[in-house]
């Protein structure tokens, strides 16, 4: 497995896409934190203010993770990959792991970078990271990015096309999860179980009517990712490469 991890690491970092994605994700999140800090008036800045940009970073990381596998299909390097290592499950698990680690690193740097930026602009005692909720809000970003990247790789493996995979991965959290609320009667209940909504509750607090606590929310999000990953592995093993 270490061999495969090394292989996938070389593959990921010998194209420009992950570098650009990391750069863009950090620029968007930290840049947004700076804007919030500079334009803030009335009341002291809190930890929450520094983390407003995390949604943008999540989008970029999702695209980066999906591209890591869809470009393999696009340029048929997936065939060269399966030629070198015919055990498809191991290859895809290794790729997912490498992408998830990168996503986690981007998430942590983005979250703490944003916090430091906002603190430097106008920080006070209200910005101290003290409670469990504060820590989840900042340090939890890496976990959410990592799990979201697993979902992206799984969707990318299933769809095999960059445009299709990216559309799904952007439209789902941005539109679908919110639009389900419009379904009469059961809409709100469905919304409560939507994976990215649940992941958001892990970061930003669960609120009074959430069905689960924060860590259960994260476990649920991870469960969704695991189910998709297993589905993508089954399909990739059955399909012609």
């Amino acid at each position: 497995m270490t061999t495969l991890l090394a292989t996938e690491r070389i593959k990921l970092f010998t194209t420009r896409s992950p570098w650009w994605s990391a750069f863009l994700a950090l620029g968007l999140t930290i840049g947004f934190a700076a804007l919030v800090g500079l334009n803030h008036n009335g009341g002291p800045l809190t930890v929450e203010h520094s983390q407003f940009g995390m949604q943008f970073g999540l989008m970029v990381v999702s695209v980066m993770a999906a591209l890591a596998i869809t470009t393999e299909y696009r340029f048929a390097t997936i065939r060269a990959t399966f030629q070198a290592v015919p055990k498809r499950t191991s290859v895809l698990v290794a790729k997912t792991a490498v992408v998830a680690v990168l996503a986690a690193v981007i998430g942590e740097v983005a979250a703490f970078g944003s916090w430091v930026t906002t603190y430097a602009i106008d920080g006070g005692p209200e910005m101290a990271i003290t409670t469990g909720a504060d820590w989840r809000m900042v340090a939890g970003v890496g976990l959410v990015y990592a799990i979201a990247s697993v979902i992206s790789v799984a969707v990318g493996t299933l769809v095999r096309q960059s445009a299709g995979a990216i559309s799904i991965l952007l439209i789902w959290p941005l539109l679908v999860e919110n639009l389900v609320q419009l379904i009469p009667g059961i809409g709100d209940d469905i919304h409560d179980w939507m994976p990215f909504t649940v992941a958001g509750r892990f970061l930003n607090g669960t609120g009074p009517d959430a069905p689960m606590g924060p860590w259960a929310s994260l476990a649920y999000f991870a469960g969704v990712a695991a189910v998709l990953l297993v589905a993508s592995l089954v399909v990739a093993n059955k399909r012609d490469a």
């Binding site: 470009t71 340029f75 390097t77 065939r79 060269a80 399966f82 030629q83």
Partner: protein, 316 residues
């Protein structure tokens, strides 16, 4: 040795490969011949475990591809030179393949040197010409120093220099005792590179044997004779038991070789202007054998066949 038994592949209703059985013996160049769309690439993908056979089986030295440990050490393949990431350098492409096979870094420089890509190793593969991509593909195939090599249409689209280079390279690989299985729809190419042939058409096996057998099997050798006394010569030849056919101002003689014809003419004091043995070409043999199994046939009259014309009108 590559051994296919009853190999079959369906894509929906299309039968790409149909109950195909053949063997590729060790230490030789075996040509894999068939018209476009005959199922050559599909067969090669099945050998490499990329496509799952609908039925049948193919093994390399008795093992399935996916059971080989670090398969690049056993089988190297170049199926499509464009199977590289365009924004990854040639060296990086080889680097991850080497990492997957636990090969030392020095091996990358060796194969780059072998195919003459050292100077452009750090350039992105997307900017490579077809000839350069082909060289990179061969470098990748040779990376694990495998004893079995698969090439799918390696000379397709190459300039004469590239073709010559590939041809020499194949011979070199075979001389090193490797098993080379190379597909082509170019028969002349096969005649120059291969010793054995596996010929398929529409996914079915048409012939397996040596190149010489294939030609002998499919064509008859004749001798072309030109003479000012053609009629007289024809009569003598017929009398001697040869078959003749009129070929304008010459005679095509079958069933008698050129020395015998020359001696016969000398004995009868007939002047000959030409006496040339006509060896059946691989093309002729090929067309004769695969004639019924070409999938996409051109309309020879120059005018479209009625049903084709009708369907084009419908589209318009």
């Amino acid at each position: 040795m590559i051994e296919a038994t009853g190999l079959t592949k369906h894509y929906g209703r299309t039968v790409a490969v149909d109950n195909l059985s053949f063997t590729v013996s060790e230490g030789k160049v075996t040509g894999f011949l068939g018209p476009n769309g005959a199922g050559k690439s599909t067969t090669m993908r099945m050998i490499l475990g990329l496509d799952r056979p609908t039925a049948g089986d193919v093994r390399i030295d008795g093992q399935h591809y996916w059971d080989l440990h670090q398969p690049l050490r056993t089988v190297g393949a170049l199926l499509d030179a464009k199977w590289v990431h365009p924004n990854r350098s040639a060296r990086a492409h080889l680097r991850w393949l080497a990492a997957a096979t636990k090969l030392p870094k020095r091996r990358i420089d060796e194969v780059l040197d072998l195919v003459g890509l050292t100077a452009v190793a750090d350039k992105n593969a997307g900017g490579f010409s077809l000839g350069m991509s082909q060289r990179l593909g061969i470098a990748a195939a040779l990376l694990g120093d495998p004893k079995v090599l698969l090439f799918d249409e390696p000379v397709n689209g190459l300039d004469p220099e590239g073709i010559l280079w590939i041809r020499k390279f194949m011979h070199k690989l075979a001389d090193e005792g490797r098993t080379v299985f190379v597909s082509s729809h170019l028969l002349s190419e096969m005649a120059q590179t291969a010793q054995d042939l596996v010929v398929i058409g529409r996914g079915k096996l048409i012939h397996q044997g040596t190149v010489d057998e294939f030609i002998a099997h499919a064509t008859e050798s004749t001798v072309l004779v030109r003479s000012p006394e053609l009629e007289k010569l024809g009569e003598y030849l017929l009398a001697a038991g040869a078959g003749i056919s009129d070929d304008g101002d010459a005679l095509r003689v079958s069933g008698m070789d050129s020395p015998a014809i020359g001696e016969l003419a000398a004995a009868r004091q007939i002047t000959l202007h030409e006496l040339s043995p006509q060896v059946g070409s691989l093309e002729q043999a090929f067309i004769q054998l695969t004639g019924d199994s070409v999938e996409y046939r051109t309309v020879e009259t120059g005018r479209l066949a009625p049903d084709v014309a009708a369907s084009q009108e419908e589209r318009a």
